[in-house]
Amino acid sequence: MAVTGAILVLFLVGHMVGNLKTFAGPEAFNGYALWLREVGYPLVPKRGLLTLVEVVLVAAVVLHIWSAVALYRRAAAARPVRYATRRRSQAGGYVVHIMRWGGVTIALFVVYHLLDLTFGVANPAGGAATPYTRMIEGFSRWYVTLFYAVAVIMVGLHLRHGLWSAFQTLGLARGRQGLRVFAALLSAVLVLGFLSVPFAIMIGVVK
């Protein structure tokens, strides 16, 4: 959970920074998308780095979900008889709900997100359009933007606990209360970064 989560967080940071290229205009954004495919060429084949990243990400996602299912099944086996009273959370109950249901929401969103912007299947501009056009068209539908915003906020809430929890699981969090603040801050930065692009499209700053 912790190791695969860490890989995914690193990817999110890169993804968010890449998104901010939007503000540099269509050429810069499309150029960046092209660069991702050609980085290191001819030393590495075209799409070489991208394919590597994709393989690692898919593996991380699969293992992350597999760990979650394993944890869930262990938890269910450890408490075969449930409490008659709804167990009242003494720690806010935040973690239990956000991690599990937030995780499911995020997984669904990622599927849609890939269909929309990567493959262009669910995109009004289609897969042949430039990445920039696909993005603008994708976010020109309010319900897509809404779904995106909900999912991104879920990611933030998921990471607020997940980041700190990863340090805890790897035995690094002992006595370092600052890590909780760090986790919350990094999550907030990611959420704001990811939300800035569709927000800019919505208010018409980016066309």
Binding site: A70, A77, A84, R87, V95, R174
Partner: protein
């Protein structure tokens, strides 16, 4: 005050149990929760009924025998308090109070509110000790211990092994208990040589007993009558990873 109690009654480990409703009258606010149950039981015995079985021993919050889930919270809603130290002044006349045993597969119900916590004993047997004969209590200045280490060991050693952490954990994990024991022993010079191997054997035993995995929800430390911190779990993980390397 008068209370309505809904208590889990289960005759034996293999028989199914159910929640049964009782009324207790004239409960004094100065009574402890267990004294209130004593009053209930006296009435049940006089009426020729089977009294409610529950664990208790010291009744002063230091032995770890008592423990029940009161209104959905292990040891009740009062923070850092064992069931025996919970007083009836925290309840109001007419309250309905549900009382259930710890719920976890490794803690099977023996009778009513009494569960078998031998799983904890087996975790201790797996490594919760110091192998060298450490002798009688050493002179305070014989082996210097840094203040920070002494504090860590002392804080962790306040764990009374009641099992509330398991009862409260949505995953049914025993990480807070095991972490406390590992921190308690591993922080002191006498326990340090076995620090990594101890973590490994104890964690393995914990998993073998069927406890769930920790997801750091923090429910355990919130109900812990001794306020053991989640730091002990980080410590357990660090020692365990070291031993697995």
């Amino acid at each position: 005050m008068n209370l309505t109690l809904k208590i889990w009654r289960q005759h034996s480990p293999d028989e199914p149990g159910q929640m049964v409703k009782y009324h207790v009258k004239d409960v004094s606010p100065d009574m402890s929760f267990l004294e209130m149950l004593d009053v209930l039981n006296e009435g049940l015995i006089l009426a020729g009924d089977d009294p409610v079985a529950f664990d208790h021993d010291c009744r002063e919050g230091i032995c770890g025998m008592c423990g029940m889930v009161i209104n959905g919270v292990a040891h009740g809603e009062q923070k850092a308090t064992t069931t025996c130290q919970l007083h009836m002044r925290h309840f109001k006349d007419g309250d309905v109070v549900t009382i259930e045993p710890w719920r976890a597969a490794p803690f099977p119900v023996i009778k009513d509110l009494v569960v078998d916590r031998s799983a904890f004993d087996r975790i201790i047997q797996a490594g919760g000790f110091v192998s060298v004969p450490a002798g009688a209590a050493p002179d305070a200045h014989a082996v210097p211990v840094p203040k920070g280490d002494a504090d860590d060991a002392f804080d962790a050693a306040t764990c009374i092994g009641c099992g509330a952490c398991v009862a409260a954990c949505p995953n049914g994990s025993a990480s807070l208990f095991t972490g406390a024991k590992i921190t308690h022993l591993g922080s002191l010079p006498q326990g340090r040589p076995e620090r990594a191997s101890r973590a490994k054997t104890m964690v393995e035993q914990m998993d073998l007993e069927g406890f769930g995995g920790c997801t750091n929800t923090g429910e355990c430390t919130a109900v812990c009558p001794k306020g053991i911190s989640l730091d002990v779990i980080a410590r357990m993980n660090a020692d365990f990873l070291k031993a697995s390397r």
